[in-house]
């Protein structure tokens, strides 16, 4: 399915262009932060710019453009937005945990210590061992 640009009304073109530019700019700033920031835990915040409003802006721009061009609602792009929003916490959480684990095993400074869990069952087991 291909669409002709001339069929898109001016307001839709401007709105869509604005959203696409916003998304691309935020993705660029996020990647710039990724390249420039000093420590890993600072850098982990940078890609969220691309995955929150970077992806959101591109998806909105694309949705507006195709809806105006096809003269009917085109909303399948929203799946990318939902998918990115739901998967980013999983990847960043796992990466953050891996980084903390590696830093702790290397005894790097500035890492919070392990919080010992104090469930009664565990202490009971310890007592039984002792």
């Amino acid at each position: 399915m291909s669409v002709a640009y001339a069929e898109v009304p001016l307001w839709a073109a401007i709105l869509s262009a604005a959203f696409i530019l916003l998304g691309a700019t935020l993705a660029l700033i996020g990647a710039f932060g990724l390249a420039r920031l000093g420590s890993f835990y600072d850098r982990i915040h940078a890609p969220t710019l691309a995955t929150s409003w970077g992806a959101g802006g591109m998806v909105m721009g694309s949705m507006i453009f195709f809806t105006a061009a096809a003269a009917r609602p085109v909303i399948h792009e929203i799946l990318i937005g939902v998918f990115v929003t739901v998967t980013t916490p999983v990847t960043l959480m796992m990466l953050g945990r891996a980084a903390i684990y590696r830093d702790r095993s290397d005894n790097n400074p500035g890492i919070p210590p392990i919080v010992k869990s104090d469930r009664p069952s565990e202490t009971d087991e310890n007592r039984a061992d002792a």
Partner: protein, 161 residues
């Protein structure tokens, strides 16, 4: 109802995804319903309890708040990255006490905290109910703990528990 649809929200999401990917036509609507029922029944084998939503009105409130916070923190983080060394910023870890225990509520909280640039969810200790997060622009620990407890956690408790 629960016998056919153990996870109504999941089934609705799957049906919507099927329709969005293959077109909103009557034929695909029938297929979507069949796939959604079959797939959500297959998930019964995992044995997770379906989340019970207590207050639907709080969902829209939470959605609005989160959308606003995402926009605001996007621009805050973008400004800090672009301003370079001039902006004196100290980032750090904070340990937040969390009252939530419901897994779905915790999952939603993790999505909220990760999608708003500036906070990253690192580790959750279910035995102590503490959450380790990293904050990009840490001015005051108490403000962040208060923000999470009163802005997000209160609504999540209303929705899920």
């Amino acid at each position: 109802m629960r016998a056919i649809l153990p996870y109504p929200l999941l089934a609705a999401g799957l049906a919507f995804m099927w329709l969005a990917l293959s077109g909103f036509t009557p034929g695909h609507a029938i297929l979507a319903v069949l796939v959604a029922i079959g797939a959500s029944n297959a998930l019964r084998a995992l044995g997770e309890a379906s989340p019970r939503i207590r207050r639907f009105a709080a969902i829209t409130e939470l959605f609005g708040i989160v959308l606003y916070d995402i926009v605001r923190s996007n621009f805050a983080v973008a400004r800090i990255i672009l301003s370079g060394k001039r902006y004196q910023r100290n980032s750090g870890f904070i340990l937040v006490p969390i009252r939530l225990t419901n897994p779905s509520a915790l999952a939603v909280l993790s999505i909220v905290l990760t999608s708003t640039p500036g906070t990253a969810w690192l580790d959750y200790n279910s035995a102590r109910g503490t959450l380790l997060i990293h904050v990009f622009d840490l001015v005051d620990e108490a403000t962040w703990i208060d923000l999470i407890a009163n802005r997000y956690e209160r609504l999540l408790l209303e929705i899920f528990e």
